[in-house]
């Protein structure tokens, strides 16, 4: 579904992505893990068109996204739930959801949008209770749900999530990952960026490890979880003994 080849991008003269290649198959959850500053957010924002790519290609169902604006990329069926949620704080929860369906509203009309809002409410009952509340006054977990719901309103074929667990209590994080699992069960394709490697490898099919703008490791989620380097760097597991680690 998504195939990225030798993607490079950055900010002004600062090169952040140094030739990224990866792919996501339809129906998969693929996770990207990596330390702070590795360039994960930059990668997702480059795919979404917020950051301009300097070279390489991003094929989405065979179509190159590199030259498209963020609006066109959303319309093509690829939505990003940005880092830090970025809800429209001075607007109500419902308005946030309605705006998520902005690209479809012209074609499909209000009734279809209202129906989808009902579907979002089934996923996130709390958003129904908060319908008329200003998004800025929601708790962090609620804002994350709203951000995911807003992205879903565009009916994307690929959903990219940038650190959905950031700053949330463990129990809320579990809830968010449950929702991600349910989204996949419904046939969605998901590209998940996470610092919480344990949880994201637990739910993903495959994963990539990113370091300073490059993919240094890839494999099935299971392979990565069993990899010693990954365990040491991202899963917080110490070597049981130096000798075992080297062997």
């Amino acid at each position: 579904m998504l195939r990225i080849r030798n993607l490079e991008s950055g900010y002004g003269s600062l090169r952040v992505l140094k030739g990224i290649s990866l792919h996501v198959n339809s129906g998969e959850i693929v996770t990207i893990i990596g330390a702070n500053g590795a360039g994960k957010t930059t990668l997702l924002e480059t795919i979404a068109g917020v950051v301009a790519a300097s070279s390489g290609e991003i094929l989405f169902d065979g179509r190159d996204l590199v030259t498209l604006s963020p609006e066109r990329i959303v319309a093509a069926g690829c939505s990003l739930v940005p880092e830090g949620r970025q809800v429209f704080a001075p607007m109500t929860v419902r308005e946030n959801l309605v705006l998520g369906a902005y690209i479809r509203s012209g074609r499909e009309g209000k009734a279809a949008v209202a129906e989808d809002i009902d579907a979002i409410h089934r996923h996130f009952p709390i958003l129904k209770e908060r319908d008329g509340q200003l998004a800025g006054t929601l708790s962090g977990g609620e804002q994350q749900m709203l951000a995911i719901g807003r992205a879903l309103m565009a009916r994307p074929r690929l959903i990219m999530l940038d650190e959905p667990s950031m700053g949330l209590a463990p129990i809320i994080v579990r809830g968010i990952f449950e929702i991600i699992g349910r989204l996949r069960a419904e046939g969605n394709t998901i590209l998940l960026v996470e610092q919480n490697a344990m949880a994201s490898l637990g739910i993903a099919d495959r994963g990539y490890v990113m370091e300073t703008g490059q993919i240094v490791l890839e494999g099935t989620a299971r392979e990565l979880m069993e990899n010693h380097d990954v365990q040491r760097a991202y899963l917080g597991k110490e070597y049981r003994s130096i000798g075992e680690g080297r062997g």
Partner: protein, 290 residues
């Protein structure tokens, strides 16, 4: 009573100019110092047109043409500034306002013109609460109220209005929703130009229109916008009315010549004492670069 009414009338004009500032400020974060020129253009164009067509049609056309001017300004100038620092935008919009004024001077020369009174003439009056006022004042007040109500409906109910609010709340998130932020900026320029032009038409019979009448209106409107808290529509209305009344009262106690000085003093005071305005939050005020 008479003072109060005339204060409210001029105040409501300032409020409309302030709302025009706010529309553009909210989507772009810049102050369009050419806002006053939209009023001048609206007035001038309708004056020229009304000799060849009925007044309502002339006003409608003037509003449409001015909106087109707003569109061109965005298309020709604003869009091409890729790194819109506040200083650059200020310099550019002031430049645009001078340009429009010079063009107006060539087209309409220095003569002071005015639209005919919408109902009756300059001596017609109606009496309200014991004060005798020109029916044009009612037109002005009615138009202001209508603009405020319609704008609220637009921002609150329509998808386009919500999309514009979304852009001002969080531009990146808006484009991730598929909203074309650039187009919202274009719409905001057209909208504030149209509103300015309409205001320019209704006040023309009373205040007269001259090629450079936009400047003082812009300063008063700017004061109201700052006073009410940049970006806040209800704040702009209340602040506009307050400034109008303060001016009216100042005329009754000070010589007429000090009228503008009073407003400017007020502007400076606000900028020094409370730059976030009456109703803007302090926090928001601190974030603004003005």
């Amino acid at each position: 009573m008479q003072y109060l009414l005339s204060g409210i009338t001029t105040g409501s004009i300032y409020a409309i100019v302030a709302i025009g500032f706010n529309i553009i400020y909210n989507t772009t974060g810049i102050i369009n110092f050419a806002q006053g020129e939209f009023l001048m253009l609206g007035g001038m164009i309708s004056i020229s047109l009304c000799s060849v067509m009925p007044l309502p049609l002339a006003i409608a056309l003037a509003v449409a043409v001015t909106a087109a001017v707003g569109y061109c300004i965005e298309l020709l100038f604003v869009r091409w500034i890729h790194n819109p620092t506040v200083l650059r935008m200020v310099v550019m919009t002031i430049g645009i306002s001078i340009l429009i004024r010079e063009i107006a001077l060539h087209v309409w020369d220095e003569k002071v013109r005015s639209l005919p009174y919408f109902t009756g003439n300059e001596v017609t009056s109606v009496s309200i609460l014991g004060a005798r006022i020109s029916p044009q004042i009612l037109w002005v007040l009615g138009t202001c109220a209508l603009i405020v109500v319609l704008l609220n409906l637009f921002y609150g109910r329509t998808l386009l209005g919500k999309a514009m609010r979304a852009c001002s709340a969080n531009r990146m998130a808006a484009s991730l929703c598929g909203i074309n932020a650039g187009r919202m900026v274009t719409v905001s320029f057209m909208l504030s130009a149209a509103i300015g032009a309409l205001a320019g038409c209704v006040i023309s019979p009373m205040t007269q229109t001259q090629y450079d009448c936009g400047t003082s209106l812009a300063i008063k409107g700017f004061t109201a916008a700052i006073f009410g808290g940049l970006g806040s529509s209800s704040g702009a209305v209340i602040a506009g009315l307050l400034i109008g009344v303060i001016e009216a009262v100042s005329i009754s106690v000070l010589p007429l010549a000090y009228k503008d000085a009073v407003t400017l003093t007020l502007l400076l005071l606000i900028l020094v004492v409370r730059p976030s305005g009456l109703f803007g939050s302090r926090e928001a005020g601190a974030l603004k670069e003005f």
